[in-house]
């Protein structure tokens, strides 16, 4: 058996962020690769526990800052249901600022990576609003920011604001390659009783994945298709127009 194989040619590695051509020591990774992996894991663990600074949502272009019913990060992690509901009193605050019944609702949530929101939303959000208008959306509700948000909070917002299409941009669980990846979840007529099967997702929005500008165009196109097809989720065919 070969004792040691160092990292080899760089060329295939340019095609993917996956850890390939890394060599081996016996059957195990080399010391440099082992430590690089542990460094990336440490960054991801720390990213989960970060919080979105006060004032950030306004800077990102959100017209309203709301929060889920989770009291803190620990409750948010151990009891995801708290992140799907809005905190008490939020309904009144939201209705005081936003008129229900828009064609599309745009929301932003920190999710599991506040850093992803700060990295992608400054480019993605203005582009998305522009693309939605180009796709023919005339009334756009939001953008609303939700602290300690899970995907299901889209239904809580949908119940109050009753949009035709709901869009939630939310920080993904950090991976090792990046802690900056964002997802866009879309649902037709989000509200109580909806589940994962009723939503569609565009994930991996980050520098090494789907570019924010490209994502903005795709999300807007999907939103328009959902409106035309009057459906989303498992029955939705994004390619069908």
């Amino acid at each position: 058996m070969s004792a040691l194989l160092r990292e080899t040619s760089r060329e295939p590695r340019e095609r993917t962020s996956a850890r390939i051509q890394v060599g081996r020591a016996g059957t195990r990774p080399t010391t440099a690769q082992l430590l690089r992996f542990q460094e990336d894991h440490a960054c991801a663990q720390d990213a989960v526990l970060a919080t979105v600074d006060a004032g950030t949502p306004g800077r990102l272009g959100c017209v309203l800052e709301s929060r889920s019913s989770a009291r803190d990060k620990t409750e948010y992690l151990r009891n995801p249901g708290t992140g799907r509901k809005l905190a008490e009193g939020e309904e009144g605050r939201i209705l005081a600022r936003i008129t229900p019944g828009a064609q599309v609702l745009v929301a932003v949530g920190d999710g599991l990576s506040p850093a992803a929101v700060e990295a992608q939303v400054p480019v993605l959000l203005p582009a998305l609003l522009g693309c939605l208008r180009k796709e023919g959306f005339e009334s756009i509700a939001g953008p609303v920011f939700v602290h300690l948000a899970r995907v299901g909070v889209l239904d809580a917002l949908g119940e109050i604001l009753r949009p035709e299409v709901g869009i939630l941009l939310v920080g993904e669980r950090p991976g090792l390659a990046t802690a900056l990846s964002l997802s866009a979840y879309l649902g037709y007529r989000p509200g109580p009783g909806r589940s994962d099967a009723d939503r569609n997702v565009l994930s991996n929005i980050h520098e090494g994945g789907i570019q924010p500008l490209q994502a903005a165009a795709m999300v807007a196109r999907w939103a328009a298709s959902m409106r035309r097809q009057a459906s989303s989720g498992v029955g939705f065919r994004p390619d069908a127009g």
């Binding site: 996956a18 390939i20 990774p29 950090p174 991976g175 390659a177 802690a179 099967a197 994945g209």
Partner: protein, 457 residues
């Protein structure tokens, strides 16, 4: 009566499934559902009660009534009556002892007669080493394009995911995995874009590379929703297996957009298109998905996982794996809970007669690391686990979680004396990657399968 006395104190339980939930090893998902034991002593009291319950009771009293749940009906349809008659009179405690004393063929026969809830019940009474010992005796053999399973074989799913489904990127990881002799169970890609067009593009390109160019004796799967894969197949796309995630209640299945009928249609579709294949289904399960979908009906996550296996059983899969540790700390809080769940799921799958693999994994928002994962992989390999995932350095850059690596698979095979599936091993020997089941000097270098090789093909 669901009661017992322990050290002078009496313990009473209101229902069979209260006993089941409280007898479970501690898991954050059962705590979240508010159904777990309130103290360590209550947990053991529940186990004492459970040990005396006759196995027959689980068929009379399924976790969810048959008239309102098609998963229950699938479990009941899968029970082999002669084996059931042999087992039904035993208590759960007696079943544990008989399982630990029996040989593999006997366990496979009994398993066919057991309702999923009874299999969950006995798992609750078993220690970690009990689970390893019993599982290690059960060898499940399956065939799709190639044969898989059998004792002494540790297979792998090569999982060359890419964040944007870039084909060159997928093939780069794929070749790297092959150079570590990974991929004898399946080359399975999770698509970032799950539209029919994108899934077909990946399926066709990977099939061409794996089957036509390299001729690797394995299967290809792209893990989109079953409805999408059926559309790809109808359009002439190339997939060997039809994949679908399962849940343990009808309501949770609905939240996944599936039903028993859809699974039957998917299987029939592929069997008709590809009559030369043996088994054609590939399922994933994992504790906690029913609670996550709000469709657990107050039943504990171990019992619901077992019910997924009962649903899988009637659709005769080529591969099943639990994805233990993927959905987060609200279901399995840390490395210890993940290890327990991985051993339970694997045992229950094997007793159902399934070719059970495990995605031994963790996410970055739970209290676990690569050492927890490696320890569990050793335990499961010792337990005869059918397959693990093989991902570059264990870091999946599309799904954003950590699982077993190409290196881990090679290490586990070497350390525990396991081999890849026979046809795959023969191919790897011809290619010069394996010799006597071990990596050669050439292994670990994907250039081996790159440009020159493709030109010569």
């Amino acid at each position: 009566m669901l009661q017992t006395r322990m050290r002078g104190r009496s313990w009473n339980f209101g229902s069979l499934y209260e006993v089941m939930a409280k007898a479970n090893a501690p898991k954050s998902g059962d705590r979240l559902a508010g159904i777990c034991a309130q103290s360590a002593q209550e947990r053991i009291a529940a186990r004492q009660v459970l040990s005396e319950i006759p196995v027959s009771r689980f068929l009379e009293e399924p976790a969810v009534p048959a008239e309102r749940d098609e998963v229950t009906r699938a479990i009941q349809a899968g029970i082999e009556p002669i084996a059931w008659a042999e087992i039904r009179g035993w208590s759960v405690g007696e079943l544990r002892e008989r399982i630990l004393a029996a040989n593999g063929p006997t366990l496979l026969r009994w398993g066919k007669g057991l309702p999923s809830e009874a299999i969950a019940a006995v798992a609750k009474l078993m220690s970690n080493l009990d689970l390893v010992s019993a599982s290690a005796k059960i060898a499940v053999d399956v065939r799709c394009r190639t044969r898989l399973g059998g004792s002494g074989i540790l297979s792998s799913r090569l999982q060359p995911n890419h964040p944007t489904d870039d084909l060159a990127g997928i093939l780069a990881s794929l070749d790297e995995g092959l150079s570590y002799a990974c991929g004898d169970a399946v080359v399975g890609i999770n698509p970032a874009d799950d539209s029919v067009g994108a899934v077909r593009r990946t399926a066709d390109a990977v099939s061409e590379h794996v089957h036509d160019v390299l001729g690797v004796p394995t299967q290809v799967s792209v893990l989109a929703h079953a409805t999408t894969q059926m559309e790809v197949l109808r359009q002439g796309g190339r997939l060997d297996l039809v994949f679908q995630s399962l849940a343990g209640t009808e309501d949770a299945c609905r939240s996944f957009g599936i039903s028993g009928q859809l699974l039957s249609e998917a299987r029939a579709c592929q069997k008709e298109l590809r009559p030369e294949l043996g088994q054609v289904m590939y399922f994933e399960t994992g504790q906690g998905s029913e609670l996550s979908a709000g469709a657990h009906h107050g039943i504990d996550q171990l019992t619901l996982e077992s019910r997924c296996h009962g649903l899988a059983r009637i659709h005769d899969p080529f591969l099943v794996n639990t994805v233990v540790g993927f959905i987060g700390p609200e279901y399995l809080a840390d490395g210890r809970e993940v290890a327990r769940a991985g051993l339970e799921d694997h045992f229950m799958g094997k007793l159902h007669g399934l070719p059970m693999g495990v995605d031994v994994c963790h996410t970055n928002h739970m209290d676990a690391d690569q050492n927890d994962l490696e320890s569990l992989a050793v335990l499961l390999a010792a337990a005869g686990c059918t397959f693990f995932m093989g991902v570059p350095m264990g870091d999946d850059v599309m799904l954003n979680y950590q699982t077993t690596s190409f290196h881990d698979l090679a290490t586990l095979r070497e350390t525990l004396g396991r081999r890849t599936a026979p046809a795959f091993e023969a191919w790897m020997e011809r290619e010069g990657i394996l010799r006597d089941g071990l990596l050669t000097e050439s292994a670990g270098d994907a250039r081996f399968f790159s440009a020159g090789r493709r030109r010569s093909a």
